[in-house]
C-alpha cells in the first residue's frame, strides 16, 4: 500500500464504521466486495470513489437526479 494512500484508507474505514447498518433479508454480499475495490485500485480509483460519493450527496440533496448522472 502506498504511503500516500494511507490517509484515504483510514478516512474510508472511519466512514464505513460510522455508516455500518444492520443487515436485512435479501442481502447481496457482492455489493460490498465490489465497492471495496475502489480502495484497492490506487489513487485513481479513490478519485472514482470520491466522485461516486459526491454524486450521492448531490442526489440526496435533490440537486441532481440519477438520470442527469447517467447523461454525464
Amino acid at each position: 500500500m502506498d504511503r500516500k494512500m494511507k490517509p484515504f484508507l483510514v478516512a474510508t474505514a472511519v466512514a464505513l464504521v460510522l455508516a455500518a447498518r444492520p443487515a436485512y433479508a435479501y442481502l447481496d454480499p457482492t455489493a460490498g466486495s465490489v465497492m471495496l475495490q475502489l480502495l484497492l485500485g490506487g489513487v485513481a480509483a479513490i478519485a472514482v470513489a470520491l466522485k461516486i460519493f459526491w454524486h450521492s450527496i448531490l442526489r440526496a440533496l435533490h440537486l441532481r437526479t440519477e438520470a442527469e448522472d447517467d447523461e454525464r
Binding site: 455500518a20 460490498g32 465497492m35 475502489l38 480502495l39 485500485g41 485513481a44 472514482v48
Partner: protein, 476 residues
C-alpha cells in the same frame, strides 16, 4: 469445471456433476473424454481468447489445460443450445482444494492471479476465481476452466474478487496467521470462508499483516454497509469511471499479499517419521525391495499410497506405475512432500491431504458436485505400509472392515502388519484400554485369504513386521 472422473461406462455424454453453475459452458463426460458444450456467447468468447497470445502461451506451457474445438464430424451430440464442443485433455486424478497442502493452494492462487493479469493485458478477464478451476499433473498445477475466460468490458471491476478472498486468500491467511490447516477450513463449505468469519478468527494484531486490514476487516465492513443497497454496484463503478488499470493494480496488490504468505507450523511428528521409525538395520531395504518387485511385476495404471508419509514408497513405485496418488492425513507432511517433489518437477506423483479413516465425502448440490475419493478413480494397486495399526488402533476401525473396504476397491494390495510387540504399536496402546482383539496377525491373514490371493509374504528381521503381496480376485 472439474475434469472427468474415471467412470468410463457411460454410453452417451453425461453432464459432470460439478459444472452446472456455468450454464453457457457445461462439461460433459463421454467415456474417457472430457467435453465442454458452448452456448453462442461462450463460443464467441472462445473464438476471441483462443487466438489471444496469452492463451496460446499458457496452453503451450501447460499452465492451461490442453483444449481443442471439435469439428462437426467429431462432435458428439450433447444437447440443444450448444453451438460448439471443446475437448479437454484428461487430468490423471481429480483432486479438490480441501485435499491440498498450503503450498499447493498458494501455487494455484498465484497462477489464478498471473492468468488474470495476462488476460487483462490483452482485454480479457476471468469471471471466476476459485481453486476448483485447477487440477494437478503431479506437482504441476493447471487451469482447467477455460469457459470462465471472457472479454473484459471497460468499467467492470474484478468480479472474482470476493470468491478469491473466500477460497484462496482467507484459508492461506488463517493458516499463516493462526496455524489453522487450510484443507480443514475449505472442507467446511464449497464457497469458502466469508469475510466476517475470517475477521472473527483473526486476532487484533493479525490485522497488522499485509492485506488483512483491507481484504478482511474492511471487506467484512463493506459487505455489511452495502448489503442492502438497491443500486447495482457494478453499474455505479462503471459510471464513476473505473478503468482496467485500476483492476490490474488491485490484482497485482493481491499477488503481492499472497506471495508473502508462509504457513505457521509447529514441528510435525509425521514429517520427521522417516528419521524416527522403528525399523532395524536391513529391514527397510528388504521392505523397499519387496514392494518394488511386487509393483514392477504388475505395472499398474493407478497406485494409491495410503498413509504415504513423506512419499518415500511413492517414489519407489512411481517408475513402475502410470500415476501415483500419495494420500497422507498430516498437512505439514504433505506440504513437505509436495515441496520436495515440485523441486524435482515430478509429474507422476500427486500428494494429497486425506485421512483414510475420514476420506473426502461427496459435497455440494445433491452431494454430487464434488465426488468421493473413490468415485474419482479406483486404484489398480494400493500400498498400505505401516498403516494398519493407525487405522485399527488410533482410528478405531475394526480390522475386518478395513480389509473389506480395500476389497471393495478391487485392486491388488501390498499391506504391512505391525505386530503388538513393535514399539510403534506399544506407543499407540500406551494410554488406551486394549479392546482390540481384532488387531491380530491371524485375523488379518484370514481376512486377506478370503478376498485376495496372497502371492508373497515377507517377515522382516525385527520379527514384529510382516509384508503381504496380494492379488485381487479376478485380476490376472
Amino acid at each position: 469445471m472439474t475434469s472427468g472422473s474415471t467412470d468410463t461406462r457411460a454410453s452417451a455424454p453425461q453432464p459432470e456433476g460439478g459444472s452446472f453453475r456455468d450454464r453457457t459452458a457445461r462439461v460433459f463426460l463421454d467415456g474417457g473424454r472430457v467435453l465442454r458444450g458452448l452456448g453462442p456467447r461462450a463460443f464467441e468468447a472462445w473464438e476471441a481468447y483462443s487466438r489471444a497470445e496469452f492463451f496460446q502461451r499458457l496452453s503451450a506451457s501447460g499452465a492451461v489445460v490442453g483444449t481443442r474445438c471439435l469439428t462437426d464430424r467429431d462432435r458428439p451430440n450433447i444437447g440443444d443450445g450448444c453451438v460448439a464442443v471443446l475437448e479437454h485433455d484428461r487430468v490423471p486424478f481429480v483432486s479438490y482444494p480441501y485435499e491440498w497442502s498450503f503450498s499447493m493452494l498458494k501455487r494455484a492462487a498465484l497462477l489464478q492471479l498471473d492468468l488474470l493479469l495476462a488476460a487483462l493485458a490483452e482485454g480479457f478477464t476471468l469471471k471466476d476465481a476459485t481453486p476448483y478451476n485447477f487440477q494437478w499433473r503431479g506437482t504441476r498445477v493447471q487451469f482447467i476452466d477455460v469457459g470462465s475466460i471472457e472479454p473484459y468490458r471497460e468499467g467492470e471491476p474484478w468480479v472474482g474478487y470476493r470468491q478469491f478472498c473466500q477460497l484462496f486468500l482467507y484459508p492461506l491467511l488463517l493458516q499463516a496467521a493462526r496455524g489453522l490447516p487450510a484443507p480443514k477450513l475449505l472442507r467446511a463449505g464449497l464457497d469458502g470462508i466469508e469475510p466476517r468469519f475470517c475477521r472473527s478468527l483473526l486476532r487484533t494484531r493479525d490485522l497488522l499483516r499485509r492485506g488483512a486490514l483491507t481484504h478482511v476487516w474492511l471487506h467484512a465492513l463493506a459487505q455489511e454497509r452495502f448489503a442492502s443497497t438497491q443500486e447495482s454496484s457494478v453499474a455505479r463503478l462503471a459510471k464513476g469511471g473505473l478503468r482496467r488499470s485500476m483492476v490490474e493494480r488491485t490484482v497485482r496488490g493481491m499477488r503481492s499479499v499472497v506471495a508473502r504468505l508462509q504457513p505457521r507450523r509447529r514441528r510435525s511428528a509425521w514429517a520427521d517419521y522417516r528419521h524416527e521409525h522403528s525399523y532395524q538395520a536391513g529391514d527397510l531395504e528388504a521392505k523397499r525391495g519387496f514392494v518394488e518387485r511386487f509393483v514392477a511385476a504388475r505395472s499398474p495404471g493407478l497406485v494409491w499410497d495410503v498413509g504415504a508419509n513423506t512419499g518415500d514408497f511413492s517414489r519407489i513405485v512411481a517408475p513402475h506405475a502410470g500415476y501415483t496418488v500419495a494420500l497422507e492425513q498430516d498437512e505439514a507432511t504433505v506440504d513437505q512432500m509436495f515441496t520436495e517433489l515440485a523441486a524435482e518437477g515430478n509429474e507422476r506423483i500427486l500428494p494429497l491431504v486425506v485421512d483414510i479413516t475420514d476420506p473426502s465425502p461427496g459435497m455440494g448440490w445433491r452431494g454430487a458436485e464434488r465426488h468421493t475419493l473413490w468415485e474419482r478413480g479406483k486404484p489398480d494397486l494400493a500400498l498400505c505400509l505401516a498403516l494398519i495399526h493407525h487405522v485399527v488402533i488410533a482410528g478405531n476401525v475394526p480390522l475386518p472392515e478395513f480389509i473389506d473396504w480395500l476389497t471393495g476397491l478391487g485392486c491388488d494390495l501390498v499391506i504391512e502388519f505391525v505386530g503388538r510387540d513393535d514399539p510403534m504399536v506399544r506407543r499407540l496402546l500406551l494410554n488406551k484400554r486394549d479392546d482390540y482383539t481384532d488387531y491380530d496377525q491371524g485375523v488379518l491373514e484370514a481376512c486377506l485369504g478370503r478376498a485376495f490371493a496372497v502371492e508373497s509374504r515377507l517377515p522382516l528381521a525385527s520379527g514384529t513386521r510382516f509384508l503381504y503381496g496380494c492379488r485381487a480376485e479376478g485380476r490376472g
